[in-house]
């Protein structure tokens, strides 16, 4: 019986639902593929004060405290005029003093720059100075 070599169905992304597209062959950028559900964005937030000193989030886990307020900012996207979309699927708060919160967001309208600006613009969250906070979008690059 003749063999048919499979030439389609690679692990590269499909345009319809993935963020990045390697097309065919070698990749030229980090290739993030969402196998199921809506497109995901991954943001690394490091909460810092105006002197760029990391703010310990371990004691900021209560109602109305800093972590909750950062997540609320993310969930309620606006660019000042238009509301957008951002459903937090999962997040992780580091059990150390690095101030890092990692967030997976479905159907995100955020850019890292816009999210960073929104967090910084609040100035203080539960009396924590957040004006030097940094946000990057590394994709699903696990540390």
């Amino acid at each position: 019986m003749a063999d048919l070599t499979r030439v389609h169905g690679s692990p590269s992304g499909n345009v319809s639902y993935d963020r990045s597209v390697a097309n065919i062959g070698d990749i030229s950028a980090d290739e993030l593929v969402d196998v199921a559900g809506r497109k995901l964005a991954f943001f690394k937030i490091v909460v810092q004060n105006g002197s760029d000193t990391n703010q310990d989030m371990r004691t900021e886990m209560g109602p109305n405290e800093c972590v909750e307020k950062v997540l609320q900012i993310m969930q309620n996207y606006t660019d000042g005029t238009n509301e957008g979309s951002a459903t937090i699927l999962a997040y992780q708060v580091e059990g150390d003093n690095t101030g890092q919160i990692s967030v997976a967001v479905e159907g995100s309208s955020w850019t890292a720059a816009a999210l960073q600006a929104s967090i910084r613009a609040t100035t203080t969250l539960n009396s924590i100075n957040v004006t030097g906070s940094d946000v990057t979008e590394p994709g699903l690059d696990l540390a």
């Binding site: 590269s12 990749i27 997040y91 699903l140």
Partner: protein, 151 residues
């Protein structure tokens, strides 16, 4: 009108649906890294570094075609049995790094994998994996939680 201060509904995990609690002594302060899944099944987050038998990282930038090694590794994660009664889990998302580090990051829903079991399964794929017969027998797997890297 009297105010009622909200004292419940913090960002800490709920045992039933989340991967970790973080605040193990319930004093409102994290004792360990906290991962919370708001919807869906519990997820495991694994960083795979594909390495050969000499523990050298294998560049995956040219390994994403049909039948190449990235596909073989994803199939192993998706299809392998952790034990005779437990399947590995469902890959929800993954990322292949566009560099020579050999890193694949995977987000696995409903995972029964431990990092050790996954590492053993990937190493067992052997020394001639995929169209380009890669040696991936020295690959390592770390359960990082959802901690994202810098870039």
């Amino acid at each position: 009108m009297a105010d009622v201060t909200r004292v419940n509904g913090d960002p800490l995990g709920v045992v039933a649906v989340d991967a970790s609690r973080g605040d193990t002594d319930a004093d409102g302060v994290l004792d360990a890294t906290l991962t919370v899944a708001n919807v869906g099944r519990q997820c495991a987050w694994m960083a795979i570094i594909v390495k050969n038998g000499s523990a050298e990282a294998v560049d995956l930038q040219a390994e994403v075609d049909t039948g190449d090694s990235v596909e073989a590794i994803l199939k192993a994660i998706q299809a392998s049995e952790v034990s005779s009664t437990q399947y590995g889990g469902e890959i929800l998302a993954y990322q292949v790094e566009d560099d020579a580090t050999g890193q694949i990051s995977v987000m696995v829903a409903g995972s029964n994998w431990t990092a050790s079991d996954m590492q053993t399964a990937i190493q067992a794929l052997g020394t001639t994996v995929g169209n380009n017969t890669l040696d991936i027998s020295g690959s390592t797997v770390t359960d990082t939680g959802m901690k994202l890297a810098t870039s």
